[in-house]
């Protein structure tokens, strides 16, 4: 039983809109990640340019939301009153299969017991108190240590 969450979950594009395609992608039910428009290097979210060739050109390309748990934590306290999931909750850092990028996300399921290497697949969810959808994860069975 959790109290109704009325505050807005801070999901959505950064103030400079540089990552807007990622969030638009989630609205279209796909995972789009940044890739250098000049040299093709994939890069994590949050970086302003290509650290391999210093180009600002960016393509946003679809990627399979599947990977393995690189690490995880279980939050035992309600640090954020606006979070729409009950405490305790598990956050995983997922190493994607298709591209060399790691993404954070909440691991769904009833009392999940994650282990590093466990296979997970992405689930795009629209929290009722967020303006934008968020990428979350679900155990896929199997492991990839």
């Amino acid at each position: 039983m959790t109290a109704a969450v009325t505050e807005t979950l801070p999901a959505g594009p950064a103030a400079d809109e540089s990552d807007r395609p990622f969030w638009e992608g989630l609205r279209d039910d796909q995972l789009l990640l940044p890739r250098c428009g000049a040299c093709g290097q994939w890069r994590p979210l949050g970086r302003a340019m290509c650290a391999a060739c210093w180009s600002f050109d960016t393509d946003w390309a679809p990627v399979d939301a599947a990977g393995a748990i690189h690490t995880w934590v279980r939050s035992a306290r309600a640090f954020m009153s606006e979070l729409d999931v009950p405490v305790p909750y598990v956050t995983v850092l997922v190493r994607l299969d298709q591209v060399p990028v790691r993404l954070l996300g909440i691991l769904l399921g009833d009392d999940p017991r994650p282990a590093i290497g466990d296979r997970v697949t992405g689930v795009i969810q629209q929290p009722s108190n967020a303006e934008w959808p968020v990428l979350r994860w679900r155990a896929a069975g199997g492991e990839d240590r």
Partner: protein, 391 residues
Amino acid sequence: MSLRGTTAVVGVADIHHPRGKAPGGERELVLQGILEACADAGISPRDIDGFTSYAGGDHSGPVLAADLGVRELRWSSMVWGGGGGGAAAAIGAAAAAVTTGQAECVVAFRGMSQRETGRRGYAKYYFDNNYLPHGVATPAHVCALRTQRMLEHDGVPRSAMRNLVLAAYRHAQNNPGAAGYGKPLDEAGYDASPFIVEPFHLFDCSRENDGAVALIVVSAERARAMGRPAAYVLGAAQGAPGGYSALNENDEPYTSAGFVDSSSGAGVASRLWAEARVKPAEVDVVQVYENFSGPAVASLIDHGLCPPGPAAAEVMTVENLTAPGGSLPVNTSGGNIADSFVNGMGLAVEAVRQIRGTSTNQVDRADTSLFIGGPMAPLVSSVLLGSEQTL
């Protein structure tokens, strides 16, 4: 050019109150700290000509210079980025200024008051839209992510974290000023404490205090002329492997505390040892910043003081970590966990006390005393202090 032996810490102050209980404001606390450090050094506050700090405190050199009525301000620098990771770097910046003749008497300081800085768990001002939607909102979260992999993937045993905490509590029993004084902690008490962010129990987490800490840095020549016990700076380094940790969970040295690039071995730790011309095994006593116990263990590994992986268990016993008899005495005041926390700078003062021989958990003979700043931060730093015999 090197910092080795060119400067010394000649005065210190370590004021702390329970969180939210400081009688005055933060600026007043900082000024009190500086006055106490000046008195400890036997100098006039008017002699200060430089200020260094870290973690973005509000009290700049020009403001403090005016408050103190210094004759001339020659140096004012803030370590850029890394929060508590910059603690030792602030001392390094003071030493660099004095070594190069930019200034003569620099105070490295930090002040905190809950009423003004409002340091609560939820760091909404820091974490961005790649973190907050996933419930990752505090320093505990990002340190826990790296620590969990250090435990589960690298095989560092949880006992390493627990024993670091238990040793700190042992030390606190001899330090009447420590929050943990009179409150001994054993293994069962640690294990029974609730999780905050797993893998961190309550006792793995640092405290939070109101307070001010200040260290006065002058040239080694002047320190000798002052005829007081001085802690000479043998080496100082700051930085991080490129791309480490800065709002980015994609860096390669993921379970490093930031002091070494695991692929090349380069980094803050190796630069520190090279400058100081000291080997890890030659260090007599260590103060390691524990925002959380796990990152502190990673710091000891990064500095070559503890082996990585399962072998960490051999070094990280309570006996080894406890002064005076241990082979690696760590956090001899009780540290951030069992003594007090003013953004970790109190540890630097304890490092100086060990050289002076005035710790409440004094090691037999401390000629080399290491202070490691905040780990798993986007920028980290260390400083090695030494007695006159090491010069």
